[in-house]
Amino acid sequence: MEALKATHITKQYAEHIALDDVSLTIPKGSIYGLLGPNGAGKTTFIRIINQIINADSGEILINNEPLSTKHIAIIGYLPEERGLYKKMKVGEQLVYLGQLRDLPRREAIKRSRAWCEKLNIYDWWNKKIEDLSKGMAQKIQFISTILNEPELIILDEPFSGFDPVNANLIKDEILALRERGSTVIFSTHRMESVEELCDHIALINKSKKILEGTKKEIKESYRNNTYIVEHNGTLNGSLSNDYSILQQSCLEGDYHQSIVKMTNGDGPNNLLQHLISSVEVHSFIEKIPSINDIFITNVEGRGHE
């Protein structure tokens, strides 16, 4: 079942097309990485889901219902450009933002208190935002995003500006929310966090979707039968033409690392057999492209077209 299904979304501004026929399917309970370089159209897409702007054409379904104002209450949104009312107190601010997301006042107070206690900032309840450190303010911003226990959480660059300790804290909370059944859309261009958290990925470049699927599938599809081998002795000329050595480097003495690509359809065991017969193999690992590599290949590749 999909938490969100977008079909043929197009949005055009006066000079340029921000989204060009983009369709995305976001399964329930997933952590969905929306990737793309700056200006690709990620924020536009997110703003459309949040009903800040309207798409020119296309349809968005949330839980199989067309997107409408009632969905505001089940969405939590942490924009990339974030801020709080500097002169307002922490407690007041959380309660106000909760109420704007359709929480009754009493409930908003209860949940705000609970979250502040959980993230160890309850002592700051009556402090003004301007007296807080940046990390504290970030935590409050995060609490305000998830206060309404949203089914759909949209985080635009959630870790920017967080120190590693707080980034981990937030990461844990995101995972915990997913455990509880929330779906997380995660927009970023920081690939290491995608690798760590996301199970689904879509790549948007130049207002078009160029890739979508589970992280595993995508990585699979970018496998190109390349293996990293560490071995004693040299491989020169000892392998058949079915294998090409892309790179061989000396690590220490007679100890080498080679990157070998299979050009026939054989499995890794065949390669290993060939290798064992000519050198002493110390390690053998498939070279799977990182999301970062895939990202760069796609963005740059398309860029040259």
């Binding site: 501004y13 009903q51 702007i53 505001i72 949104y77 924009p79 450009e81 974030r82 801020g83 704007l100």
Partner: protein, 430 residues
């Protein structure tokens, strides 16, 4: 609707809780009357405590009757002028009034010798007294009886009646003038102060980046309207507090003054007291003749209408820029009609039914100020209705216009904005 109320509530409470709000709300009604009251009080005190000045009178004509007042005491001397002058320098008298034998037809030669430069009011008073005596002397010279003389002293009071409303009403141009100027000026000040605050609030929300979180829950239009209405309620609240505080202060102060009144009344001459009470009665009658309910209702209407009209323009200006300094370029066209309204006030008050007055009070951008200037003088009903309808249409138009610029503007950062860009935002679909 519920969310609009939440936004209004936040705007209201966050501003009312500010220390600066508390200070201005309490200090303005205390400080201003205190300053005026203080000046008034000390002036009165000075008058009261002023020592009775002794003026020696050397009257060679033997015609002048100078009755001493609580300000001056006249003492007749009989010596020669030179002697009297030396006596003056040695005494602590204020001055010497020398009245030579004079020709009734052409009275000259009156001189006042003083030890210091006599001030204007003293000279004025003496001149008046001499003039009166000389006039009486002249009348006697022409054989006019004393009783006739007394009857000649009349005081004329021109009574102005306004018959335009079907019944005769006593009117007072000065009072209408005062009310028009004060209420018009109040509206002018309020538009600037609170319109400016709307703009600042919008810029603050935009530059602190909170706006995107808010408008993911609330329509931009609701947020804008909430801010404008929230601030309006702050303004009205402040105004009510001021009125209540001022009336309380005025009542308390006047009751204290009234307690002190009898003493001063005893000192002053009975006729003066009577004159004063007659004046007071007339003033009260005039006050009763002013259609206060009508003025207050129109004031509230133009106050709110004008504020909505300008507040939304200020909001649009704020949404287009990243900092208050950048907002200057958009402030000018907003300020010009406001200033035109207040400048036009002087010609409105001179001629409340003239062409300038009519147009200024009909055009929505100036009508909130201009109509207040006219209202005290009586405005034909159709003009008032036309002006009000146009103002309502006017603010609906500006709120709509501002809303369209605002919804795009608040999400734009670092853009170089000019009027062409604003027009583009206005046309943009979301």
């Amino acid at each position: 609707m519920n969310k609009l109320f939440l936004v209004i509530q936040r705007e209201f409470t966050s501003r009312v809780k500010k220390k600066s709000f508390l200070l201005t709300t309490i200090l303005v009604p205390l400080v201003f009357p205190a300053i005026f009251g203080g000046i008034f009080y000390f002036m009165q005190k000075e008058d009261e405590s002023a020592k009775q000045q002794v003026i020696q009178v050397l009257d060679e004509s033997n015609t002048l009757e100078l009755t001493s007042s609580d300000k001056f005491k006249y003492i007749a001397t009989q010596s020669s002028l030179e002697e009297a002058k030396t006596v003056l320098t040695e005494s602590d008298s204020y001055g010497l009034l020398y009245i030579p034998e004079f020709n009734v037809e052409n009275p000259t030669g009156f001189t006042f010798y003083a030890k210091s430069n006599p001030n204007f009011s003293v000279m004025n008073e003496l001149e008046k007294k001499i003039e009166r005596s000389v006039r009486d002397e002249k009348l006697r010279y022409y054989n006019i009886d004393k009783s006739v003389l007394d009857k000649l002293h009349t005081s004329i009071d021109l009574k102005a009646l306004n018959i335009s409303q079907g019944q005769e009403k006593e009117s007072n141009a000065n009072l209408a003038f005062g009310i028009g100027y004060v209420t018009g000026f109040l509206i002018y000040i309020f538009m600037f102060a609170y319109g400016g605050q709307v703009m600042q609030g919008v810029i603050e929300e935009k530059s602190s980046k909170i706006v995107e979180v808010i408008i993911s829950s609330v329509k931009p239009f609701q947020l804008m309207l909430g801010k404008i209405l929230g601030l309006a309620s702050v303004g009205l609240f402040q105004m009510v507090i001021w009125i209540v505080l001022m009336t309380t202060i005025i009542t308390v102060v006047t009751s204290i003054l009234e307690l002190e009144m009898p003493q001063t009344a005893q000192l002053s001459e009975a006729t003066q007291a009577m004159e004063a009470s007659a004046e007071g009665e007339k003033f009260m009658r005039l006050l009763a003749g002013i259609p206060f309910t009508k003025i207050i209702l129109t004031f509230i209407f133009y106050f709110i209408g004008g504020y909505l009209l300008y507040g939304s323009l200020f909001a649009a200006a704020g949404s287009a820029v990243d900092s208050p300094s950048e907002a200057q370029q958009f402030m000018l066209p907003i300020m010009i009609p406001l200033i035109a309204g207040i400048v036009g006030m002087s010609s409105i008050i001179k001629n409340p039914d003239g062409m300038v007055s009519f147009w200024l009070s009909i055009i929505p951008f100036t009508s909130p100020i201009a109509m207040m200037g006219r209202i005290g003088f009586g405005v034909p009903v159709w003009e008032l209705v036309l002006s009000m309808v146009l103002l309502i249409l006017g603010f609906i138009f500006t709120v709509w216009l501002a809303g369209r610029i605002y919804r795009v503007g608040i999400l734009m950062h670092g853009a170089k904005v000019n009027y062409r860009v604003l027009a583009k935002w206005f046309m943009m679909k979301t």
